[in-house]
C-alpha cells in the first residue's frame, strides 16, 4: 500500500515536472510576446496620439459635442482616450497571441473569436463617433435654421433631430456588434415610429392655428405686411 502511494506520488511529481518543463519555455515565449506587444502597443499609442494631434482631431471631437460629454463624465480628452484604446486593443491582442502559444485547449477558440471581433468593434466605434458627429451637426443646423426662421419650438426640433440620428446610429452600432439584433431592430422601429407619431400629433394639434395663420398670410393679404417687417441689410 505504502509503495503504491509512493509510486503514484512520484508519478504525479514527475508528470508535474514534465508538464512544467513542457510549459516553462512556452510561458517564457508568452512573456516575451507580451513584452514585445507592450512595446509595440506603446509605440502605436504614441503614433496615434501624434497623428490625432496633427490632424486636430480634438477640434472635430469638440464640434461633434464628444468633448463636452467626456468632460461631464470626467474622462480624458478624446485624443487621449482613442490612443489609450489603441494601446489596450493592441496589447490585449498580443497577450492573447502569447496565451495561444501555451496550447491550452479551448483558449485558442476564444483567442480567434477575439481577433474576429476586433474589426467589428472598430467599425462599431467609428459608427458611434460619426453618428454623434452627424447628430451634433444636424441638430445645430436645425436649431439655427429654426431660430432664424422665427420658429417657436426651435430647441424641440433640434432635440428631435439629435435623438432620431442618435437612435439610428446606436441601432446600426448594435447590429454591427451582433448584440441583440432582433431586440434592437424592434426597439428602433418602435421608438422611431413613436417619435414620428408624437411629432405628427404635436404638430397637427399644436400647430393648427399657426398653420392657418401662415396659410392666411401667404394666400390672402399678408405679403405686404411681411415685406414691411423685413430688414434691408445691404
Amino acid at each position: 500500500m505504502r509503495e503504491i502511494i509512493i509510486t503514484e506520488l512520484t508519478n504525479a511529481l514527475q508528470e508535474l515536472a514534465r508538464g512544467f518543463a513542457h510549459y516553462l519555455p512556452r510561458a517564457v515565449v508568452m512573456l516575451i510576446i507580451a513584452f514585445i506587444g507592450w512595446v509595440i502597443a506603446y509605440l502605436l499609442k504614441v503614433i496615434v496620439r501624434g497623428i490625432l494631434r496633427v490632424t486636430k482631431f480634438s477640434k472635430l471631437s469638440e464640434s461633434a459635442g464628444a468633448t463636452a460629454l467626456l468632460n461631464q463624465a470626467a474622462l480624458p480628452s478624446s485624443t487621449e482616450l482613442l490612443s489609450r484604446f489603441v494601446f489596450w486593443v493592441a496589447w490585449v491582442g498580443f497577450i492573447l497571441l502569447g496565451v495561444s502559444v501555451l496550447g491550452i485547449v479551448g483558449l485558442e477558440e476564444y483567442t480567434s473569436r477575439f481577433f474576429l471581433f476586433l474589426p467589428r468593434l472598430f467599425v462599431a466605434l467609428v459608427i458611434l463617433f460619426l453618428g454623434s458627429l452627424a447628430a451634433s451637426f444636424f441638430s445645430r443646423a436645425a436649431l439655427l435654421a429654426a431660430v432664424n426662421a422665427n420658429f417657436r419650438s426651435s430647441r424641440l426640433l433640434s432635440a428631435s433631430v439629435r435623438i432620431i440620428i442618435s437612435i439610428f446610429a446606436l441601432s446600426m452600432m448594435f447590429e454591427v456588434l451582433g448584440v441583440a439584433e432582433q431586440t434592437m431592430l424592434m426597439a428602433f422601429g418602435t421608438v422611431f415610429g413613436a417619435v414620428m407619431l408624437g411629432m405628427a400629433i404635436a404638430f397637427g394639434l399644436g400647430g393648427k392655428d399657426l398653420a392657418r395663420e401662415f396659410l392666411e398670410r401667404r394666400l390672402a393679404t399678408g405679403k405686404k405686411e411681411e415685406k414691411e417687417d423685413e430688414l434691408s441689410p445691404l
Binding site: 445645430r140 439655427l144 441689410p233
Partner: protein, 421 residues
C-alpha cells in the same frame, strides 16, 4: 488658363467677333426680367451721353434665368434711347449674353465678366446690378470716368439711402473693413462698381476662387484685394439706392458678405494685423437729395427675434462667445423695447469674437455665420432706436462712433485671434 475653360465656346466666339473694347459693362442676372429693361435703358443712355466715341460692350452673365432675361438683354434696341437723347454713338454697341451655370452663383458671374474683360483687353470694367430701381444714365459716367480718364483702379459707390436701408453695411461691413484693412470704403460689398483692366486681370489670378466663401462673396473680396494690393481706390456719389425688399434674405446676405469678410481674415492676417489706423478714400461728385419714403419696420418683432435667438442659441454661443460677452447679451435680451440698447463696444466685441471663432473653426463656419444673424437683428434694432428721430447727419455721427469702437477694439481682436483656447 482657368478662364478659358470657364467661358463657353459660343461665348468665346462672340467675344472674338467683338474684338478689343475700351469699356465693358457687366450685368450679372438671374430672373430679372421685371427690372432689367430700365437698367439697360439707363446703361445705353449713359453710353450715348458720356462715351459715344469709345468701344463699349455689354456682357450679361446669366445664372439660368427662366423668364427670358438674356433675350431682353440681347434684344434691347438702342433706337428708343437714340430718339430720346438725340445723340448717336460712333461705334456699334454690342450686347452679349452667356449662361455660366444653371443656378445663380454670384462669384462665377463676376468671374465670367472679369474673364471677358481680360480677353477683350477692356480698360474699364463696370458692373451694374440688374435690379437697381433708381439707376440713372449718369451712374455709368460716375463709375467709369475715374477709371477711364483718371486712372483709378477701383471706383466704389456711395449711395443716398433711406435712413434704415443698408443696416448690415452700416453696422458691420463698413466699420469692420475700415478697422481691419484701414480704408474708409463705405460700400465694401457693392452691387455697382468699376475697376481697371489691370485689377480685373490681377484679381482673376487671386486664390479667392479656390475658396467657397470667396466665390460666394467675390465682390467684397475684390474690394479687399484692391485695398491690400495698394491699388488706386476712390468713391463716387451715385445717387439714391433702393432695393426690392421682398428679395432680401438676411441669412443669405450674411453668408455672402460676413462669411466672405471673415474668410478673408485668414488669408490676409500678416497684412491686417499691422494696420493700426484707417485712412480716408478720395470721394468724387456731390451727394444728391433723398427721394424715398421711410421704411416701416416691426421693432417689437425684431426685439423678440433677438431675445429668442439669444435664449435658444445659448449652447452655440457658449462655444463662440466669451462668458462676459454672453452674459451681457443675456442681460440685453431681457430688456423691454423702451429700454432696449446694444452698445457699440459690445457689438464690436461680439463681431470680433465671432471672427476669431470663425478663424479657429470652433464649430462649422457656416453655423458661426448663421448664429450671428439674431444678434445682428438686435444691433439693427438698437441702431433704429438710436436714430429714430435723428437727421442723416446725426446718423452719420452714430456710424462714425461705431467705426471708432471697431478701430479702438482691434487689439482685442488680435488678442482673441491668438488665444489658443
Amino acid at each position: 488658363m482657368a478662364e478659358e475653360t470657364l467661358l463657353t465656346d459660343d461665348f468665346l466666339r462672340q467675344l472674338i467677333n467683338v474684338g478689343e473694347v475700351d469699356i465693358l459693362v457687366g450685368l450679372p442676372t438671374h430672373n430679372n426680367a421685371k427690372t432689367i429693361e430700365p437698367v439697360l435703358r439707363a446703361i445705353q443712355a449713359g453710353i450715348l451721353k458720356c462715351f459715344p466715341r469709345e468701344r463699349v460692350v455689354i456682357i450679361n452673365a446669366d445664372g439660368g434665368s427662366q423668364d427670358g432675361t438674356p433675350d431682353l438683354v440681347t434684344g434691347a434696341s438702342i433706337d428708343d434711347v437714340w430718339r430720346a437723347s438725340k445723340v448717336y454713338t460712333l461705334r456699334t454697341l454690342h450686347a452679349i449674353s452667356t449662361q455660366y451655370a444653371r443656378t445663380p452663383e454670384p462669384g462665377t458671374a463676376l468671374r465670367t465678366i472679369l474673364a471677358a474683360a481680360d480677353l477683350l483687353r477692356a480698360q474699364t470694367c463696370v458692373v451694374v446690378s440688374p435690379d437697381s430701381a433708381t439707376i440713372e444714365p449718369d451712374w455709368l459716367q460716375r463709375l467709369a470716368r475715374p477709371v477711364y480718364n483718371d486712372h483709378f483702379d477701383m471706383v466704389s459707390p456711395v449711395y443716398r439711402r433711406q435712413k434704415f436701408e443698408g443696416v448690415l453695411t452700416r453696422n458691420l461691413l463698413y466699420p469692420m473693413t475700415r478697422a481691419i484693412y484701414g480704408s474708409r470704403v463705405r460700400e465694401p460689398y457693392a452691387s455697382e462698381f468699376a475697376i481697371s483692366g489691370r485689377l480685373a486681370t490681377d484679381f482673376l489670378t487671386n486664390d479667392v476662387w479656390n475658396d467657397e466663401w470667396g466665390r460666394t462673396g467675390a465682390e467684397i473680396c475684390l474690394t479687399i484685394a484692391a485695398i491690400i494690393g495698394k491699388y488706386r481706390v476712390c468713391q463716387s456719389f451715385l445717387g439714391t439706392k433702393a432695393q426690392d425688399r421682398s428679395a432680401s434674405d438676411l441669412v443669405a446676405a450674411m453668408r455672402r458678405t460676413v462669411g466672405a469678410l471673415f474668410s478673408s481674415l485668414d488669408r490676409t492676417f500678416p497684412l491686417w494685423s499691422t494696420i493700426a489706423a484707417s485712412e480716408t478714400v478720395p470721394t468724387l461728385g456731390t451727394q444728391s437729395d433723398l427721394a424715398l419714403e421711410p421704411v416701416k419696420l416691426d421693432r417689437e418683432r425684431l426685439r423678440e427675434m433677438f431675445s429668442t435667438g439669444v435664449a435658444q442659441l445659448e449652447p452655440v454661443f457658449r462655444s463662440i462667445l466669451s462668458p462676459s460677452t454672453l452674459s451681457e447679451l443675456q442681460t440685453i435680451a431681457a430688456l423691454d423695447i423702451n429700454d432696449f440698447h446694444y452698445p457699440a463696444d459690445l457689438w464690436a466685441r461680439t463681431v470680433f469674437e465671432f471672427a476669431a471663432s470663425y478663424h479657429k473653426s470652433v464649430i462649422s463656419r457656416d453655423h458661426i455665420v448663421q448664429a450671428l444673424v439674431p444678434l445682428f437683428r438686435g444691433r439693427a434694432l438698437a441702431f433704429l432706436l438710436e436714430n429714430q428721430d435723428d437727421h442723416d447727419e446725426n446718423m452719420e455721427t452714430t456710424v462714425e462712433s461705431l467705426c471708432g469702437e471697431f478701430e479702438r477694439l482691434k487689439p482685442y481682436l488680435l488678442e482673441v485671434w491668438a488665444d489658443r483656447k
